[in-house]
Amino acid sequence: MEADAVLDCMGLYCPMPIIETTDKIKELEVGQVLEVIADDKGIVTDMPAWCESTGHEFLGIEEKDGEYRVYVRKKIEQ
């Protein structure tokens, strides 16, 4: 999937990937896609929950060798 910005959260545990995503998404324009790379498995359920709560769109997750690539579309200006 093509992303407009990438956030590297490798090696970070809950809740840091979510907190960093909260910061990073502010830099994007509405409609743009953020890719978050993490190795904490919690992100598989945490990111959809974060999206549901904040109103951003959860696009999906790709997993390869314990590395998760999560895609989020910015839906609203916070």
Partner: protein, 160 residues
Amino acid sequence: MAEKEKVTIVVFSGELDKALASFNIATTAAGMGMDVTMFFTFWGLNVIKKNRGPLKSKGLMRKMLNWMNRGGSQRLPLSKFHMFGLGTWMMKKLMGEERMLSLEDSIAMAKRLGVKFIACTNSIGVMGLGEDAFIPEVDGFAGAATFLGEARKGTVNLFV
């Protein structure tokens, strides 16, 4: 979006692990766009006491209490395996190796994300402490009615 959801956390305990769990939830909730207030009461006041300098209090019993119960984020024991500080030292070391946030970093992070800190006036009175015993990040000093006023509007209310 509709009005922000409200989260309240009563931090009653003065132990490192419980404080970390409280801040973990508080910062995540704030990151999820929720309005978070943390109420520090009783032993939980130790989490937000200043780390440096003497704490002033009046009377022998209060002086003894505050000497034994000095508090400050850097002095909190673990609720298990404190082992006179050795267990806590090891846990902090392991957390550092895993790049987890320290309690001090968590407090700063919570503040940056807009989490409100309220200290309980009742406990402060019992312990004979002044407002100057606490870190400047504390937003206010209030009682149970303030907590309940927030909690009744809260969708998530926790007691740690």
